[in-house]
């Protein structure tokens, strides 16, 4: 029967070509949207690697004040850490979790090089974000005296640079190592964390390196504060007032990581939702088109249906034939689509894992066949119910 259907469709390829193109286009759009969804979902299922609840970000902006910035910042940090409501506080570069800022640099170990997100933090950072270490330790105050800057890397960077080798104690370099003269331009690995998805759950677990910030650094003016449970806006008001008193003229802004996370999620989810709406609209059009074409086709093929019934076709086999025709057409379209879609994993487009594309391909095939089946089912049942005597008499 399959060979018969293939012949029937092949001989009518001209009239079916538009339908094939329509299903092919739907497959391609679905493949795109589903790749996006699978990519984000895969990321979402991976743990974020740190704790963001009850963590505030205080932005200390010295504005026009240029005197004793480092000293003032140190005093402010001491003051912040002294509050009973504060569990921990840490300075950090501007690429705080869920922020829009990104810093990355090439990190080298011997002849291996990898791009990694750079985070400048201090000794309290792992405590502030509950960042568990899988090997070694977080950097300590005494590490400041060492020749190389102490760094903690994540597992991803460890895999890229060291493979199975133990990274602890190894010295890394970066692109600036040769040009920075008297600054410390080598980095000694003191610890490894599992994951750090700074841009949120939907982010890929990129290679990351945490570098100990210089004690007198005056450029990184963000402070992460882990507050104790139950701390409210009253403390926030007091905190701002106290800092303002210590550093007159400075701008002080407090934000919450939970809020930043929501904003970051929206940045990821809104385009996905927009694509979903567009593809939903397209698929609805395709579904209606298929339904209409099938209904019309059945009206035109009533005598053929009558004939097949006279030749021994049951109601079930007429339904199966019309469904089969649509499945064969869908299969043609999907095969055409696959020629394009398989290029993505083969060519590693957008540096996304092949599994993401393959899952999206499989899901797109399932969705296409479900839609085609749903659209073809009712007209096919209608075809099966055609009275053979009437249908044969009509021509």
């Amino acid at each position: 029967m399959l060979r018969h259907l293939l012949k029937l469709i092949w001989n009518k390829k001209g009239s079916h070509s538009l339908l094939i193109i329509e299903i092919w286009a739907s497959f391609m759009v679905l493949f795109g949207v589903l790749s996006l969804i699978v990519y984000n979902l895969n990321n979402y299922l991976e743990p974020i690697g740190f704790e963001y609840k009850n963590v505030w970000v205080v932005d200390l902006n010295n504005n026009q004040d240029t005197t004793a910035i480092a000293e003032k910042t140190t005093q402010i940090m001491q003051r912040i850490r002294s509050y009973p409501q504060v569990a921990s506080a840490s300075r950090m570069s501007s690429n705080t979790p869920f922020s829009a800022n990104t810093m990355n640099n090439s990190t080298n170990y011997q002849k291996i090089s990898s791009m990694a997100d750079d985070y400048y933090t201090d000794e309290e950072f792992s405590k502030t974000l509950d960042l568990p270490l899988t090997a070694g330790r977080w950097y300590l105050p005494e590490d400041r005296v060492s020749k190389s800057t102490p760094v903690v890397i994540n597992k991803k960077l460890q895999e890229k640079l060291f493979g199975d080798e133990n990274p602890l104690g190894k010295v890394l370099g970066n692109n600036d190592s040769e040009s920075e003269g008297n600054q410390k331009t080598t980095f000694r690995v003191v610890g490894v964390v599992d994951k750090f998805k700074a841009k949120g759950e939907f982010m890929l677990d990129n290679p990351a390196i945490f570098k100990l910030m210089d004690k007198n650094d005056k450029w990184n003016k963000l402070v992460l504060i882990k507050t104790k449970a139950g701390t409210d806006a009253t403390f926030e008001e007091r905190l701002v007032k106290d800092i303002a008193a210590m550093a007159p003229g400075w701008g002080i802004e407090v934000s919450y990581l939970t809020e930043s996370r929501k904003n970051r999620h929206n940045l990821t989810l809104v385009p996905v939702i927009i694509f979903l709406i567009i593809s939903g609209f397209l698929l609805t059009n395709v579904a209606l088109g298929l339904f209409g074409i099938l209904n019309l086709g059945i009206a035109r093929r009533r005598s053929e249906i009558g004939l097949r019934r006279a030749m021994g076709a049951t109601e079930g086999s007429v339904t199966a034939q019309f469904l089969g025709e649509m499945w064969v057409l869908a299969a043609f379209s999907v095969i055409l689509g696959l020629l394009f879609a398989v290029q993505f994993p083969i060519m590693n487009v957008f540096d996304i894992a092949a599994g993401v594309y393959l899952t999206a391909i499989a899901a797109a095939i399932v969705v296409i066949f479900v839609i085609v089946t749903l659209c073809a089912w009712y007209p096919s049942r209608q075809a099966a119910r055609v009275q053979p005597a009437l249908a044969l008499h009509e021509e």
């Binding site: 029967m1 060979r3 018969h4 012949k7 029937l8 001989n11 009518k12 005598s303 053929e304 009558g306 004939l307 097949r308 019934r309 006279a310 030749m311 021994g312 076709a313 049951t314 109601e315 079930g316 086999s317 009275q387 053979p388 005597a389 044969l392 008499h393 021509e395």
Partner: protein, 220 residues
């Protein structure tokens, strides 16, 4: 072989009731060649549809080989149509998108017949009707007579016991019509039972028995 007992057929719409067949009794014996005649609208095609299990009578009984088919389900009726009956229509009812050979194979698709056997049987049937040189052609490339010969090949490919022909020469000129009747007569000589609806007295004279209908009633 095929027996109709007290067959009635009434078509009903919301406002009109039309009696198409009234108390028809007919016993078709194995090897017979019967013609059914009558004016247009007298119920000839309705009778043939009921004999072919394509339509249900309003009253009466149909028996094939002694078995009453009244309570048969769709699958059983389809099997009977496929195995016992072959149909020939006035307007051929060929599928234009399939080749002659594929058209002839259609009844065999609804049996568990392998593609190879289907092909062999279809070629054999086409040889019987003298169309072995047109197997790869499409219906649009054939004349009316050739189309009807394809339809006959399709009707006999499954080796049915009864062939039901609804005005098989109605769309053909007299020469072609006679050719078709010659083929049917040859099939009958080879043992096929044939019931043929016709308007043509001369054609009817060449059959064994004539059944005449008038306003749905059997008059002969």
């Amino acid at each position: 072989m095929l027996q109709l007992t007290n067959i009635d057929k009434t078509y009903r719409t919301s406002s009109v009731e039309t009696l198409a067949l009234n108390n028809i009794n007919l016993n078709v014996k194995k090897g017979e060649f019967i013609s059914v005649m009558g004016p247009s609208g007298c119920g000839k095609s309705t009778l043939l549809n009921i004999m072919g299990l394509l339509d249900e009578p309003t009253g009466g009984e149909i028996s094939i080989d002694g078995s009453r088919v009244a309570n048969y389900h769709d699958k059983e009726l389809a099997r009977l149509r496929n195995e016992k009956l072959g149909f020939i229509f006035q307007s051929f009812h060929l599928i234009n998108d399939l080749s002659v050979l594929d058209n002839v194979e259609i009844p065999l698709l609804y049996r568990k017949t392998s593609a190879k056997v289907r092909r062999e049987l279809a070629q054999e049937a086409l040889e019987k009707v003298g169309l072995s040189n047109r197997m790869k052609h499409f219906p649009k490339q054939l004349s009316g007579g050739q189309k009807q010969r394809v339809a006959i090949a399709r009707a006999i490919v499954g080796r049915p016991e009864i062939i039901l022909a609804d005005e098989p020469t109605g769309n053909l000129d007299s020469v072609m019509g006679n050719e078709i009747l010659d083929i049917l007569q040859k099939l009958n000589d080879d043992g096929a039972t044939i019931v043929m609806v016709t308007h043509d007295d001369a054609m009817a004279q060449r059959t064994h028995r004539l059944v005449r209908l008038f306003d749905g009633t059997q008059v002969l």
